[in-house]
Symmetry: C2
Subunit: 408 residues, 2 copies
C-alpha cells in the first residue's frame, strides 16, 4: 500500500510493517498507530473529487484507509450516516450551532460497524476465515453482522450484563456467542486466551490498530457534511477509548492532508460512575481502574483497553472532559428523541448530555458550534429507553374514557 508507511508504537516509537495481522508493539507491547503518506494521498484525492463520488459509505474515503484499491470491500453498507443541523436543540442547550451525527443509523445500529467492516476487510487480506472479539455489545453485534454478510465465521465473548437486544443480534447473525459470567475485564481476558489458542483474527479494539482506522471515517463524513468547515467542538462518549481516538485520528488525517484548516476541540464525555479516562485528565495523572457503575453499558469500561490513545487525543485537541450522571444520560435520550427524532441508546446520548453540562458549567462558550456524535441506536436497549421515557396511558377502547383521561 503506497499510502501506508508503517504501524508505529505510540509508546516507544518502534515502527512495524503494516501487515494485515499486526497487533501490538513487539518491543514494549504498546498500541500501534497506522502512519500514512499524506503527500501521496494528496496526489490521489481532492475534496472536489470526493464530492462527485457515487459511493455513499465509509469506503468513499478509501485513499485514507489502510486498504488497497476500491474493489472488494465488505458488503454491508456502513457509514454515510445522517447528519442534522439542530437549531431547536442548540437553543435548548445554549450553544450557537448544534449538529447531530446519527451513527445509530448503520447496518447493526452503531458506530462500531465502521471498525468491524474494517476488521472484515483486513481478515480477508490476512486470509483468515474466523474472527473473534470480546465486547460489551456493539463491537460484537457489528462484527457478527459484517462478518455474516461477508461469509466469515465469528466467535464472540460478551459479559453477561449485555442487553438482550444486542445478544439477539449476535445469535441472529449466526455468531458463536460465549456469555461470560463476569466483568468486561474477565470477558476480554478469556477472549484473548481463546484467540491465542485457536489463531482467530483478532477484532479486539486497541489490540488491532486497523479498527480505529475504520472508526475515523465518522470524522471524514462530519467534515464533508459540514462542507469542510469544522465546528469548534466535537462531543463523543468514551468507554474503551477507541472511538474518541478514531474521531481524533480522522480529524488529524484531514488536517494533515489540507482538507480542513482547523482542528476542533474534543469533548470527552464519560459516565460519573465509570470515568477512568476523564479522571486521569482531570487529575493530570496516570489512569487507574474504576468500578463500572452506569446504565450506559456500552461505555461501562472500568479498565479501558485504549487509554493511551484516548488520553493523547483529548490532550492534543486541548479537549474538555465532562462526566454525567445516569439521570443526565436518560434526560439526553429524551431531548434527542423529542427535539431531533433521534433515538439513542444511553451511551449514544451521553455525548449530548455532556454538551449540556459543559454549557451549564461554562466549560464551553455560548457562541460555540458543536457536533455531538450519537454512537448507537436506542432500540438496542429498550429497557433503559422505557426507564427514560415512561409508560404510555393505557385504557379500554372507549371515547368517554379517553376524554376523561385527557381532562385529568
Amino acid at each position: 500500500m503506497k499510502h501506508v508507511k508503517s504501524a508505529k508504537c505510540i509508546r516507544c516509537g518502534r515502527e512495524h510493517a503494516a501487515v494485515p495481522g499486526v497487533t501490538t508493539c513487539e518491543s514494549c507491547g504498546g498500541i500501534l498507530d497506522i502512519i500514512y503518506d499524506y503527500d501521496w494521498i494528496k496526489t490521489q484525492v481532492t475534496k472536489e473529487a470526493l464530492s462527485d463520488r457515487i459511493e455513499h459509505s465509509m469506503w468513499r474515503y478509501h485513499e485514507f484507509l489502510p486498504v488497497e484499491g476500491t474493489g472488494n470491500f465488505p458488503q454491508l453498507r456502513v457509514g454515510w450516516s445522517p447528519f442534522y443541523e439542530e437549531p431547536r436543540l442548540a437553543a435548548f442547550l445554549g450553544v450557537d450551532t448544534m449538529y447531530i451525527k446519527d451513527d445509530g443509523i448503520n447496518p447493526t445500529a452503531s458506530l462500531k460497524d465502521r471498525a468491524s467492516a474494517m476488521a472484515v476487510a483486513k481478515a480477508a487480506e490476512a486470509g483468515v476465515s474466523t474472527i473473534a472479539c470480546s465486547s460489551t455489545g456493539n463491537a460484537a453485534s457489528s462484527l457478527a453482522g459484517n462478518a455474516a454478510a461477508a461469509g466469515f465465521e465469528t466467535y464472540i465473548f460478551v459479559p453477561e450484563r449485555a442487553p438482550r437486544g444486542k445478544v439477539s443480534q449476535l445469535m441472529m447473525f449466526g455468531a458463536h456467542v460465549i456469555s461470560v459470567q463476569g466483568t468486561y475485564e474477565d470477558t476480554f481476558r478469556l477472549s484473548a486466551e481463546a484467540i491465542d489458542h485457536w489463531g482467530w483474527y483478532n477484532r479486539n479494539a486497541a489490540i488491532n490498530p486497523y479498527l480505529m482506522e475504520g472508526k475515523k471515517t465518522v470524522s471524514f463524513e462530519i467534515a464533508e457534511q459540514l462542507g469542510w468547515k469544522m465546528t469548534d467542538y466535537v462531543a463523543v462518549s468514551v468507554g474503551d477509548g477507541c472511538t474518541i481516538s478514531g474521531v481524533w485520528k480522522g480529524l488529524k488525517d484531514l488536517y494533515a492532508a489540507g482538507f480542513i484548516d482547523k482542528l476542533p476541540r474534543l469533548i470527552s464525555v464519560q459516565a460519573e460512575g465509570c470515568c477512568p479516562i476523564n479522571r486521569a485528565i482531570a487529575e493530570d495523572r496516570e489512569w487507574y481502574p474504576m468500578e463500572e457503575n452506569t446504565l450506559a453499558d456500552s461505555i461501562a469500561v472500568g479498565v479501558p483497553r485504549n487509554p493511551d490513545k484516548a488520553l493523547r487525543a483529548i490532550r492534543e485537541s486541548n479537549g474538555i472532559v465532562v462526566n454525567v450522571s445516569d439521570q443526565e444520560i436518560l434526560e439526553a435520550m429524551r431531548i434527542l428523541g423529542n427535539q431531533c427524532g433521534v433515538f439513542a441508546e444511553p451511551a449514544g446520548a451521553t455525548g449530548t448530555a455532556g454538551v449540556k453540562k459543559a454549557v451549564e458549567r461554562q466549560l464551553i462558550p455560548k457562541g460555540a458550534s458543536v457536533v455531538s456524535i450519537v454512537t448507537g441506536n436506542g432500540l438496542k436497549d429498550t429497557t433503559n429507553a422505557i426507564k427514560a421515557a415512561g409508560e404510555p396511558l393505557s385504557l379500554k377502547p372507549d371515547m368517554e374514557l379517553l376524554l376523561r383521561a385527557f381532562e385529568q
Copy 2:
C-alpha cells in the same frame, strides 16, 4: 401542483381536488388514488438527471411525489436504504438472482418512515400542527420520530400487544401514547373518533391517500439501484395492504413515465394465522375478517384497512400469494441474519419466507430474479429474535471450561 391531477376514488371513480387534507371519497367512502400527469413529469426529470442528484433520500424523486418544489422536506433522512445482491441467499433459496432491500435501515427502523415523512410534509401544507394515527407499531414510531424532528405534536393509539421496543420509541419521541386494551380494530376505531373530535391531521394509512405515495419511493429506489432493469418478482409482507399497494404504485409510476420497461409480478406474503387478503385472492372472492394469530405483529391485521388497493395491486401484477407459518418466519429471520447480515423483525422477514415457500411449491421458476423487501428492523422485537436464534453459551471466565464446552 402541476404534476398532480386529482385524488380519484378507486371504487366509484369520482375525482376530488388533491388538497392536503383529502381523505376518502365524498360519494362512496372509497379509498382515493393520487393521479399524476406523467407527460408533464417526463418533461421535468429523466433517469440520467436522477443519477446526478446529491439528495440520497426518498425526496430524490420529488417530481413523482404529491409535494411542491424541493425545499422544505421533513428533516429526518428517510429512504435510500441499502440494496444488496445476495448470491448465497439465491443459491440457498433456489432462485437465479436474489436482492434484499433493507428498509429496516431508516431513521425509526422501518419502511413506514416513508409514509410518515409524507404525512409530516402534508400536515405542514395543511397548516396543522398535530398529527394522529393508530398503528400496530411501526407507523406509530415512524410518525412520532418524523413529527418530533419537524416540531409537530402527535397522538398515537397502539394496541396493547405492541412490542415494548416500539412503544419505547414513541415515548422517547415525545408522543402522547394511548395503549388500547383491545385489538387493532378497536384501536383504529378509537383513534378515528378522537381524530374527528379534536381535528388532528390523520395519518391513518388507507384513509390518507398520500401515505402510499411516500411508500412507493421504495420501488423508485429498487428500480434505480437495479439500474432500471426490474427483476421478475418483488416479494413483500402484507398486513394492512398499504405497503404492497405503495410498492405497486411506484412500479406503475415508473412504467407510465417510461423509466422501466417491465413490471414485475408481486409476491404477496402473509402469515398463515392472519391472511385475509391472500385468502381473498386464493378463493377469488371478497375478503372477510380473520383472527390475528401470528407473532409477526406488524402484519397481524385481521381487518385490513386497505384491502381494495392491495387486492387490485396483486391482481394487476398477475401476482402470487403465499402464506407462511410463524416457524417459517423465524427461519427466514435466521437466514437473513446468517447469510446477509440483515436483522429483520418477523414481518420484515416474512417476504423472504414467502420466496422460499414459493420456490418450494414451484410457484416461481428456478431461473427467477427476485427482490425481497425487509420492511422493519429486528431490534424492534428482540423477544422474537431470541425465540428465532436461541440463547448463547453461558460460562464462567475460565479457559478450561471453554475448551470443555467446545469439545461437547
